[in-house]
Amino acid sequence: MGALLVSLRKELRRYRRDPLGLAAWIGIPVVLAVLLFLLFGRGSPTPHGRVLVADQDDSFFSRMLAGAYSQGPMAEMLAVEAVTAEEGRRRMDRGEAAALVIIPEGFGKSFLDRAPARVEIVTNPAQSIVPRIVVEATAAMLDAAGYFQEAFGEDLESLPRGEAPSDAQVAAMAVAVNHTVRQAAKYFDPPLIDVETSAGEDESTDWGALFFPGLLYMAVLLAAGGMSYDIWREKQMGTLPRAASSPGSVTALLGGKLAAAVAVFLALGAAGVVGGAALLGLDARRPVLAVVWIGFSGGALYLLSMLLQVHASSYRSAAIGNNLAVMLLALVGGSFFPFELMPAWMAGIGMWTPNGWALLELRRLLSGGGDPMAALRAFALVLGVGLVCWWICVRRLRRAFLR
C-alpha cells in the first residue's frame, strides 16, 4: 500500500512537471468542444423561450387560452407576456421572442357558436423547439376545446353571454384543460424531445448532450493511451526494471500508474461534467455518479490500453498500435460522431466497443435514467474486466516485458 502511494505521488509529480502531454490529450477534445459550442451555441434539453400573446378578443375563452401557456409543465419553459398585435409583430421582427400568438376578435363568440375558431401563430425561424411546442400545444388546446364544445354544446348554448359560467361548466372546463395538458405533455418530456429531435436532420438537436459525452470519452481514450504508453518510456529510462527490483516490484509501479490515471480521469470527469453543464447546458442528473463512472471506466480503459502496450513487440509498434486503437475506438465508439448520426451498422458495432459502451452508460447516468441495478451491474463488469487486465499485465510485465 505504501509503495503504491509512493508510486502514485511520483506519477502525479511527473505529470505536474511535464503537463504538456496531458494537456494535448485533453486539449484536442476541448478544442473540438469549443468549436461545437461556437458552431451550434447553447443547447438545452429543457427549452426556454418567450411567448407573446395578443388577446384581441378579451373574452372568457380567449383569456383561458392565453392563460393556458403559463400553466403546468409549459410554465417552466415559457415566459408569457401579454402584448398588442402590433407590438408583438414588431418584437417578433426583432427576434425577441420564440412565438407570437394572436387570438383574433370574435374568438369566444365563434367558440360558443361552434363555428371554426382561428388563432394566428407567428414563429421565430431562428428557433425550433419552443415555437414547435407553442404550435403543438395550441393545436392540442383547440382540440380539447372542440371536445369541450361537443360535450357541453347544450350547456354552452344556454350559457348567458357575458356571464360567469356555472360550477358544472367550470368542472367540465377543468376536465378539458386536464386533457389538454396530458395531450401536450408528450412534447414536454425531455427524453422524448431528445429522441425526436436527435432522430431527424432538420429538427432541432441538443448538440451539447449529443456530442459532449463523446468528447469526454475521446479525452479519456487519448489520455488512457498516452499514459499507458508511458510504460515503454519507463522501460527505456530503466526506471521500470529498477522499480521491479524493489520490494514492491512491478505491482507497486503499475498500481501507482493506474491510480494516477484514475485521478486524472476523475479530474477530467469533474471538469467535464461541471463545464458541460455550465457552458453547454448539459443535463447532469447524477453528476457525482457520472464522474465516478468516468474515473472507473477510464481506469479499465487504461488497463485495456496497457494490455496492448505490454504485448507490443517494440516501442514503435506500441506507439502505432496505440494511436490506431485510439483513433478507431474514438471514431466507432461515438466520440467523433454520436451514435445517432452514424449508419446503423456502425452504431451497432460502436455500442459494443469498450468506450462506446461506457459512453452510453455515462449518458444514461447523466440523463438520470436507467435502473440502479443496471448501473451496479455496469460497475461490476468494469471491475471484473479491470481485474483480469490487471492480472495479465502484471504477469506479462514480470515474465516477458522486462527481459
Partner: protein, 309 residues
C-alpha cells in the same frame, strides 16, 4: 550475504553466464571484473531477481531470490549500469521515490536524501530537474538513489562510468564507507585500477565464466613473480614461439604476426638477450612494454587477450 551457486543464464542459444559461483560477505567489497559482454550485468540481474536463472541458485541475505523474492529484494540496493532516473523530477524527488519504494518515510526519508546528496556532491542542485544535469552528475545521483535506504546488500553495476577523477575518488570513498558500515557490496567494473584499489576480493569474468577469484594478493600469486612482456612489430609466430621457449623462465602467452606476449620471470635481466635473439632471427621489434604483475596481466594470462580491446 550474497551466495551465487553454479549460476547459468541463457539468452536463447547464447550462454551469458555459465557455472558462476561466488560469495560476498557482509562488510566486503567483491569486484566482478570483466570485459564488455562478459556477463556481469546478467549476473547482477539474476541476483536482483530481474532475470530468472536457467540453473543454479542465488541467495541474498539468506533468502532465495526465486522462492522468497520479496524478502530478498528488501535488503537490496541497486545501482544499474544504465542511468535509471526520472529526468523531469528533481534530484530530491527521485531520491524520495526510490527511498520510498524501500519503505523510507517522512523525516527519515528527507534526512537520508539530504545525506546522500551531500555524499555525492549534489546538495546544491538538489531541487533542479535531473534533465539539466551533466552525465557525471546523473551518474552520481544514480548511485545516490541506490544508497538512500542504507541497504545491507549493494549491487553496483559500473557506477562510476563517465565520472570525473575527483568525483570518482569521492564515490569510491562513499562505497568503502558503506562496506565499513557492514554492507555487502558487489561491484562490477572493467577498470582494473578500480578493482585493485577498491575491492577486497575479485572475480575475473570472461565469456560468462568466472575464470579466477580471490584477493588481489592471491590473484597476483597466480601470476607468479613474473612480469608481462609485450612486443609489437613483425614476427614469425612459430619461430618466435620456439626461440622464446628456448630461454628458460619465459612463457609465451600469445604469438601473432604483430604481437608477442609472454610472462617473464626476472625480466629486466633477461630482456636484452630476448630482444637480440629475436632481432638476430630477422624479426622486427617496434615497441616493448614491460608490465609489473597486475590484474591486467593476470587477465591476459588467463584469457590470452587484453581486457580493454
Amino acid at each position: 550475504m550474497i551466495q551465487v551457486e553454479r549460476l547459468r543464464k541463457l539468452y536463447g542459444a547464447l550462454v551469458a553466464v555459465e557455472n558462476a559461483s561466488f560469495e560476498v560477505r557482509a562488510g566486503e567489497i567483491f569486484g566482478l571484473l570483466g570485459p564488455n559482454g562478459a556477463g556481469k550485468t546478467t549476473t547482477i540481474g539474476c541476483i536482483s531477481g530481474l532475470l530468472r536463472p536457467d540453473a543454479g541458485s542465488v541467495r541474498v541475505n539468506g533468502h532465495d531470490v526465486g522462492a522468497d523474492g520479496f524478502e530478498a529484494r528488501r535488503s537490496l540496493g541497486i545501482v544499474p549500469q544504465e542511468i535509471a532516473l526520472y529526468e523531469e523530477l528533481s534530484a530530491v524527488e527521485n531520491l524520495e521515490y526510490w527511498g520510498g519504494l524501500y519503505g523510507l518515510r517522512g523525516r527519515e526519508l528527507k534526512e537520508r536524501s539530504r545525506e546522500v546528496l551531500e555524499l555525492t556532491g549534489l546538495a546544491e542542485r538538489a531541487t533542479e530537474p535531473v534533465k539539466g544535469f551533466s552525465g557525471g552528475m546523473k551518474r552520481r545521483l544514480n548511485l545516490a538513489c541506490g544508497l538512500v535506504h542504507e541497504p545491507r546488500v549493494l549491487l553496483l553495476d559500473e557506477p562510476t562510468v563517465g565520472v570525473d577523477p575527483q568525483s570518482r575518488v569521492r564515490l569510491l570513498e562513499v562505497i568503502r564507507e558503506q562496506a565499513r558500515a557492514g554492507a555487502c557490496v558487489l561491484y562490477t567494473t572493467h577498470y582494473m585500477e578500480e578493482a585493485e584499489t577498491l575491492c577486497d576480493r575479485i572475480g575475473v569474468m570472461d565469456h560468462g565464466r568466472i575464470i579466477a577469484q580471490g584477493t588481489l594478493a592471491e590473484l597476483r600469486a597466480m601470476l607468479g613473480e613474473r612480469d608481462m612482456l609485450r612486443l609489437t612489430g613483425r614476427f614469425a609466430p612459430a619461430a618466435a614461439r620456439r626461440l622464446l621457449a628456448e630461454n628458460g623462465g619465459v612463457e609465451v602467452v600469445q604469438a601473432e604476426e604483430s604481437v608477442l606476449l609472454c610472462a617473464v620471470s626476472d625480466a629486466p635481466r633477461r630482456l636484452p638477450g630476448l630482444l637480440s635473439a629475436l632481432a638476430e632471427s630477422g624479426m622486427e621489434i617496434r615497441d616493448v612494454t614491460l608490465t609489473q604483475p597486475s590484474l591486467e596481466s593476470l587477465f591476459i594470462k588467463l584469457t590470452g587477450k587484453e581486457l580493454r580491446e
